[in-house]
Structures are given as structure tokens and as C-alpha cells.
């Protein structure tokens, strides 16, 4: 196993901020190396150094055994480094083959485009990924995971030896994740070194060979991942569907051509950049560890467990992951009967949420969970069925009415819609309570400031002060501000949509404690989350949605595979 990438004691400062204080990192050919760390630990800076976007201040960077000084993005591309971001950067109005062509073909301005060759190559690359995407489709019409696959096809076509994936599963459904994992395993099997960044530990345990943990700009350790897997990871591994065609490509054996496919020469043809055909039998889906390539990582370091890993990340013990409920829930606060909204994409929703209860909404992305939240908040008002609040039938036609009825909605994607980045934190915090805090239309800055300070103290928001702009906060703290804004409305029903997405482990557990505390204070909480362990751990009851409907109600303590089976539709969902 040769190191395709070797960073030694890399440092980087931005002004007075030392983003990297000495990071050493090694990526071998044919391994998936997870990079883990809380937000702000230095992951993105490190990635930017590897992709040539930033120059390191100190330390050395070796690519393919050669020391590289002054790496530029162009040089990184030429050296076979590709990065697949969470949000694919394709040109939405161009077709898939045009997008691939733009990345891979030479850039001379007067070059004549060979359309058929361009299309042919795109089709070939996509087929190798087992992606059922037409090369003539406009990139903007593809779903997020399809766009990711196109990005991966570009990396493949460029003969990347080092592929960086930055939270690639953040917006994928379970099925799409599996397909992505298969592709990643294939890349690994063909000798590519994959740097995999994710906040989801179970993914790292399911996929990675080694993990390097960054904390406060330093690499605090590189560990093997092996036998000591967590229950969650095992569960994930077990319920991974057993395909009748366990080939790495979802299309099955017919499309694989393992024996006959020639090695593909790539444009920047150094010998190393040749992608080898897959050895047959590699990357089969029988079990996670079976599909590892030969060459185990350094045997002197024992495999790491999930709790050790978390400890390594946060540098402290995160006590019992999920706070438990105390006492019985109270009266039914929110009752939905046969609620539906044709335009909003939900139907036949019947659900009770009691005071003091957290009801989890599980399901795949696109199953209708966010859509239900939007109906309840009046963004896409219901057109059938009834909503009862504390026993009274209400109609909710607009967010204003929802707020007036005591419903609060903390939306997903807080970067875009939860917090207004340009506005001071204090203004963000009072946004939803203007009528109460400022009776009459005059603002009262004193009241606003003291309210802001109180909320920030209450939820332990780490910020320079109430006047700092929302954009200056870390993800976890932005989420707390978004939450605090709605808590200020003193809601009876609190709807949380992906409250910990992209939040680091420490802040995640803080947010979990806050949610439980709010429920304890008598709020009825509806928790939407794609993080299965979170839904299982936090919820008193779990409603599973599939195809715009609630398909199952499950009690606390339900096994993950049962929930997932319901979300997938008992065996009908996959394969």
C-alpha cells in the first residue's frame, strides 16, 4: 500500500486565526480514509489545501511520493485530485455530457467539439458507475444524488487517484446512499484513495478503512476501523439489502463486463492514473468488512469503537447520547385527522402529539415529512382533513395564523432559511415575536438586547455578542439561534426539521438535551430527522412516513431495522 497523499505537519493561519496547527495525514491507494472532526476542527481548510485552493504556511505535501510546492487547483486536477462536494457544482442548463466534457476535454478556445465522442465518453463513464442517467439530460433536471454521480463520473474520467467526498450523503435517501457506497467501494477496489468526510458515524464505520480525527486544527489520531463496531453500525450493515445480483453496480452482472473490459486510459496519462478493471468478486454486498481490499492498515493500532472515536473528536466524554423522557406525556395538544394537501404532497395524515411528548417523523427523504411540516405551518395549507389544537378545530392558512395558534417551525437548511446571515443575532432572535416584544410598531432596543442575551444564555449560544451577524456563527450555534427564535414565541407545538444536520457531535448532544427539556416543559414536539439513530433515541413514539402518508406508528425502543423496513415499504422499497 503506497501513500498517494502524504501531509506532514501542515500549518495554515488566516490572520490571527490558526486554522491548522500541525496536521499530518496519509492516504493510501485503495483505501477509504474518513476525516472526522467537529465543525471548525479544520476539515475544510485541510481539503482546500489538498485541492490547491489554499497554500499551506508550513509543513510538506507529497502527492504520489513527490513533494509538491505551490499546489494550484489546476495542478491538483492534473495530479489526479478530485473533490465531490455536498452540493454538486454542475452547470444546470448544460447537458450531462456537456458538463463532463467541460471538465475533461482540453480547454483551448478554438477547439472543435467532437459531439459524438463527448457523448460516447459520458455514456461510458456513467455506465461504469451503474448510473441510469441519460447523457443528454440537462444537469439541472437531475436529482441531487444523480448530480453527485455525474461529479463522480468526472472524477473517474479525469483518472483521479485521490477523490475527496465532502458529506456526500447529507441529502441522499437510504437507497441512494447504498448506491453511493457501492460506487465508493468500487473506487477503492480500483486503487483510488478516497477521503470521506461525514458527520454520520455509522457511515464511517460501514465504509471506511481508517479514520483520522481532527480537533482544533490538529490531527489527534489515525485509527483503524474494524471489529469494535457499534450496534448502530452493525444494524446498518445487517439491514443493508441483499441484492439478488450482488454486483457492485446496481445494474447487475449483465452490465459489468468484468473480464473483458480493458483498462481505461485517461487523458492525463501518467502510469498511475490508469484505472484498473475491477477484480471480479470485489465489492460484493454480502457484508461490510468482507468487501475490504487486501492490505489491512497498520495492525499495531487496534480498531476503534464509536465511543472512543467520539471521545477523540470532542476530547471529552459525551455522556449518555440521548436524554431520556421522564414522566408520562399529558393532554393531546395537536391532533390531525385525515389531513391532506394535494399541492403540498401529503395525504391521509392522522396523528396525535401530546404535551411533553416527542414524536419522531421517520422516513426517507421525499417521503412527505417536510411537506407535512409545511402544511402544519400554513406554507402550503391543507385542503382536506382537520387540525385540532387543544381540542379546538383550527384552520391554518398562513405562517402568521400558525404562529398565532402557537405552532413553531424550525426549518431544515438553516443556512438558507433558518437564520438571516447578514442580520445581527439579536434581530434574528426577535424576528418571530415582533408583535409581542414591540407592541405598537416601535422597536425597543433595550428589550431586544436583553431578550437576546437571555436566549443566548439559555441555549448556550457561543457568539461574539448579540450584535454579531448570524453568518459569523458555527452551524450548531446557528441552529440554536433558529431554535431560540421560535422558543420565544412560546409555542405549544414545536416542529423541528433536521435539527442537527451538519452539526458537530458536541453541539448535537446539546441540542438533543434542549429538545428534551422543551418537551419536559410541556411542549408537543414533532421531530423530523433523517438521522435514524437520532429519531430512535429521541422519540417517545415514531411515525414512519412513506409516499406522502404515515404508514406506521411505533413505540419507543423500536429496532432500527423495523423502522427502516416500514420506511422502505416491507421489502418492496429496494432492489
Amino acid at each position: 500500500m503506497s501513500a498517494v497523499l502524504q501531509l506532514t505537519s501542515v500549518t495554515k493561519s488566516f490572520g490571527a486565526v490558526r486554522a491548522l496547527k500541525g496536521v499530518s495525514f496519509e492516504l493510501r491507494a485503495g483505501e477509504v480514509h474518513a476525516l472526522l472532526g467537529e465543525n471548525g476542527a479544520g476539515k475544510s481548510t485541510l481539503i482546500k489545501i489538498i485541492t490547491g485552493a489554499h497554500q499551506p504556511d508550513g509543513g510538506t505535501l507529497e502527492i504520489g511520493g513527490q513533494q509538491v510546492a505551490q499546489l494550484t487547483p489546476q495542478a491538483a486536477h492534473r495530479l489526479g485530485i478530485a473533490c465531490i462536494y455536498q452540493q454538486p457544482a454542475l452547470f444546470p442548463d448544460l447537458t450531462v455530457s456537456e458538463n463532463i466534457g467541460l471538465r475533461l476535454e482540453s480547454v483551448s478556445v478554438l477547439r472543435r467539439v467532437n459531439w459524438s465522442a463527448r457523448r460516447e465518453r459520458a455514456a461510458q463513464l456513467l455506465q461504469r458507475l451503474g448510473a441510469d442517467i441519460s447523457p443528454d439530460a440537462e444537469a439541472g433536471s437531475l436529482s441531487m444524488p444523480e448530480q453527485q454521480l455525474v461529479e463522480i463520473a468526472c472524477a473517474l474520467g479525469a483518472g483521479a487517484r485521490i477523490v475527496i467526498m465532502d458529506e456526500p450523503t447529507a441529502s441522499l435517501t437510504q437507497k441512494e446512499q447504498h448506491r453511493l457506497f457501492t460506487v465508493v467501494r468500487e473506487l477503492r477496489a480500483s486503487g483510488v484513495g478516497v477521503i470521506y468526510i461525514s458527520h454520520r458515524l455509522e457511515e464511517i464505520f460501514a465504509l471506511a478503512d481508517r479514520v483520522t480525527v481532527l480537533r482544533d486544527g490538529e490531527s489527534v489520531g489515525t485509527r483503524n476501523i474494524g471489529a469494535g463496531q457499534s450496534a448502530v453500525a452493525r444494524c446498518m450493515a445487517n439491514e443493508r439489502p441483499e441484492s439478488p445480483h450482488p454486483g457492485p453496480l446496481p445494474g447487475g452482472e449483465g452490465e459489468r463486463q468484468p473480464a473483458t473490459r480493458p483498462a481505461v486510459r485517461v487523458p492525463f496519462a501518467e502510469p498511475l492514473t490508469t484505472i484498473l478493471p475491477l477484480p471480479s468478486g470485489e465489492g460484493r454486498g454480502e457484508g461490510v468488512r468482507d468487501s475490504r481490499p487486501a492490505g489491512p492498515p497498520n495492525p499495531s493500532t487496534p480498531p476503534i469503537t464509536e465511543s472512543e472515536l467520539i471521545r477523540l473528536m470532542v476530547g471529552r466524554e459525551v455522556s449518555s447520547i440521548y436524554p431520556a423522557a421522564e414522566g408520562e406525556p399529558g393532554e393531546v395538544v395537536l391532533a390531525l385527522s385525515d389531513l391532506g394537501c394535494t399541492a403540498g404532497g401529503v395525504r391521509h395524515i392522522t396523528l396525535d402529539v401530546r404535551a411533553g411528548e416527542i414524536v419522531g417523523l421517520a422516513g426517507l427523504v421525499g417521503a412527505g415529512r417536510t411537506e407535512l411540516a409545511r402544511v402544519l405551518f400554513g406554507l402550503t395549507p391543507a385542503d382536506s382533513g382537520e387540525i385540532h389544537l387543544n381540542g379546538h378545530s383550527v384552520s391554518i392558512r398562513s405562517p402568521q395564523e400558525a404562529v398565532a395558534h402557537g405552532i413553531a417551525y424550525v426549518p431544515e437548511d438553516r443556512r438558507r432559511h433558518g437564520v438571516i446571515l447578514e442580520m445581527p443575532i439579536a434581530h434574528n432572535l426577535t424576528m418571530a415575536i415582533h408583535p409581542r416584544l414591540f407592541p405598537g410598531t416601535w422597536l425597543r432596543f433595550g428589550a431586544e438586547r436583553s431578550h437576546a442575551l437571555e436566549s443566548m444564555r439559555d441555549l448556550a449560544v457561543k457568539a461574539a455578542g448579540p450584535d454579531a451577524p448570524g453568518g459569523s456563527l458555527s452551524g450548531g450555534n446557528q441552529q440554536k439561534v433558529a431554535l431560540a427564535r421560535w422558543l420565544a414565541t412560546k409555542p405549544r407545538v414545536l416542529i423541528l426539521d433536521e435539527p442537527t444536520q451538519g452539526v458537530d457531535v458536541g453541539a448535537k448532544s446539546e441540542i438533543h438535551k434542549i429538545i428534551r427539556r422543551l418537551a419536559q416543559q410541556g411542549m408537543a414536539v414533532l421531530l423530523i430527522s433523517s438521522d435514524l439513530p437520532e429519531v430512535l433515541g429521541m422519540s417517545d413514539r415514531i411515525a414512519v412516513m412513506r409516499g406522502a402518508e404515515i404508514v406506521a406508528m411505533m413505540p419507543r425502543g423500536t429496532e432500527a431495522h423495523a423502522v427502516m423496513a416500514a420506511a422502505l415499504g416491507q421489502g418492496r422499497g429496494e432492489s
Binding site: 398562513s398 402568521q400 432559511h417 447578514e422 434581530h427 424576528m431 410598531t441
Partner: protein, 309 residues
């Protein structure tokens, strides 16, 4: 200081210009010509304040010049028909508000892009006016110019009106909830909607306000001369937008304030006379104005790049 760097720097540039004028051309500060210049500029300031609100809420309006002409002419015709001046003023403001409401409705209700909507209404008002009026000037009866008062008093009223509008809007932006909403909608309309604000209502409102202010500005301009030129208000939208941009209001919405707009407006308004007083050839006027605008935009670009890093 850091948050208001743009406003400070524009104010600094303005002061620098005024100080150099004080040293090299003290004649510039003679009261009567100075008051005349300020009076002539006052209507543009009123329009610039309205445009600032529209830009803060992440929209644009390029139809104000044409609407200004329509309002001027209507008020002039009413005054020429011997209706009392207050009626003409109300009609002008009302007509402006209706014109603004048309833009606002198309933008907020039908969700059309404001640049296209106001481009259409700009052409519509201007060409409609040309068709109706055929370029004929309207002569105003006595008692309209300077509101029938001595010239100095009339000038005082015009400048005072502009100041009142500026202060009232600046106050509303800072101290009223609705001002906060303008910033919120301009920063992130969807986030504002999810926070229980009605972005479309806010957008509709700022367009109506801009229209009404345009109508008011038309009257403030009307009373300064004995007749109304039907081609009045040409390039007004560009001058007003330039003042707003130079004053540090972000074209991407949500950032800036009226103090900056005032400073930017005065800076641009002082350049032309300053050149005369400083013996610079007047050919340089537009080039220098353009350079100032470019400088402001570049400063914003650099600043944004720093923020994003």
C-alpha cells in the same frame, strides 16, 4: 465603525471634497447659489430615498424617471386648469402611488422580476406621455412657482421637504418594525417568510412608497420653474440608483442605510459644480461620476470577497 465602514468612507470622501472646495474655491459656499443647487437636487434625493428602500428589499425600479414625468405633467395640467395647488400635489402623489402599486403588484403578486417589470412600465409611461402630449410644454399659472411665495421661502420648503422625507424614512428603517422587515426580506425573503413576515406585502409596500415619493418629488421639481417639460425626469432613475449604490446600499439587498445614501447623493451632486469651481474642464464631469460609481461597486466587491473568505 467596521460595520459602517462604507458609510464612513463615503462621508469621508464628501468631506474631503468640501474641504478642498473650501480651500481652493470658497465661492462654492456662497449661500444663494448653494441653496439653489440644493433645491434643484432635492427632488432627486427624495426619489433616491425611495429607490434605496426598494434596493434594500432586493428589488429594483427603473421606471421612476418616466413616472416622474407623468406625475409632473398631470400636476402641471391640473394646476393649469386652475385647480388649487394642494389638489395638484395630492393628485401627483396619488398617481405616483398608483404607478408604484402597478409595479409592486406585478412583482409581488405575479412574482415577475422587477427589472423587467419596471423596464416595461418605464417605456410604457414615457411613450404614453409622448403620445398624449406630443412634446408640448405646459405653462403654469402664477402662484404655482415657489408655491406662490418668495423664492427663498419656496426653496426652503423644497429643501425642508426633502430633509423631512429623509429623516422620516431613516427613522422608520431603524426604529420601526416595518423597517426591520425591509432588511429581513432583502437579506433572505424565504427565511423572512418562515419567520412569519409577509415578504410580498413588504415588497408591494416599498414599491407603492417609492411611487408616492416620486409623485412628491415631481411636485417639488414642478414648483421650481414656470413650465413643465414633458421630457422631464430622463436619467432620473440612473442618478438615483447611482446615489444609492455609492452610498453603500448593497444591490443584493439587506445592507445599507439612508445616511450613506445622503452622503453618496451629495458626493455625486457636488462633483459637477465642484469641477466648475475648481477649473476642471466640464467634459470630465460624467467620467468622474462614472469613476466614483465604479469605485463604490469595486469597494463592495472587495469587501464581499473578504467576508466570504
Amino acid at each position: 465603525m467596521k460595520r459602517h465602514f462604507r458609510e464612513f468612507s463615503v462621508t469621508g470622501a464628501l468631506l474631503l471634497l468640501l474641504v478642498s472646495l473650501a480651500i481652493f474655491a470658497p465661492n462654492f459656499f456662497e449661500p444663494q447659489p448653494l441653496l439653489s443647487r440644493l433645491t434643484a437636487a432635492a427632488p432627486k434625493l427624495v426619489v433616491a430615498c425611495g429607490i434605496a428602500l426598494v434596493i434594500l428589499s432586493r428589488q429594483i425600479d427603473i421606471s421612476v424617471g418616466s413616472l416622474f414625468a407623468v406625475c409632473s405633467l398631470s400636476a402641471g395640467l391640473l394646476a393649469a386648469a386652475k385647480l388649487s395647488l394642494p389638489v395638484a400635489v395630492l393628485a401627483s402623489v396619488g398617481l405616483g402611488a398608483v404607478g408604484g402599486a402597478l409595479n409592486g403588484a406585478l412583482v409581488a403578486v405575479l412574482r415577475l422580476p422587477s427589472i423587467v417589470v419596471t423596464l416595461a412600465t418605464m417605456v410604457m409611461w414615457r411613450e404614453g406621455l409622448r403620445l398624449a402630449q406630443q412634446g408640448v410644454f405646459v405653462n403654469l399659472p402664477d402662484g404655482v412657482q415657489w408655491f406662490g411665495l418668495p423664492m427663498a421661502a419656496g426653496q426652503g420648503i423644497v429643501c425642508g421637504l426633502a430633509l423631512v422625507v429623509l429623516l422620516a424614512l431613516a427613522y422608520a428603517l431603524r426604529f420601526l418594525a416595518v423597517g426591520r422587515f425591509v432588511y429581513a426580506v432583502g437579506s433572505d425573503a424565504e427565511a423572512a417568510r418562515l419567520a412569519g413576515i409577509r415578504p410580498r406585502l413588504v415588497t408591494f409596500g416599498v414599491f407603492i412608497l417609492l411611487g408616492a415619493l416620486t409623485g412628491l418629488a415631481a411636485v417639488m421639481n414642478l414648483v421650481q420653474s414656470p413650465q413643465v417639460d414633458p421630457s422631464t425626469g430622463r436619467m432620473l432613475e440612473l442618478e438615483a440608483i447611482a446615489a444609492v449604490v455609492v452610498g453603500g446600499v448593497a444591490v443584493s439587498g439587506g445592507r445599507g442605510n439612508l445616511w450613506g445614501v445622503l452622503a453618496g447623493f451629495l458626493l455625486l451632486a457636488c462633483i459637477t459644480p465642484a469641477l466648475t469651481y475648481l477649473d476642471v474642464k466640464p467634459y470630465w464631469d460624467k467620467a468622474i461620476q462614472g469613476a466614483v460609481i465604479l469605485l463604490a461597486v469595486v469597494a463592495d466587491g472587495v469587501r464581499r470577497r473578504k467576508l466570504n473568505r
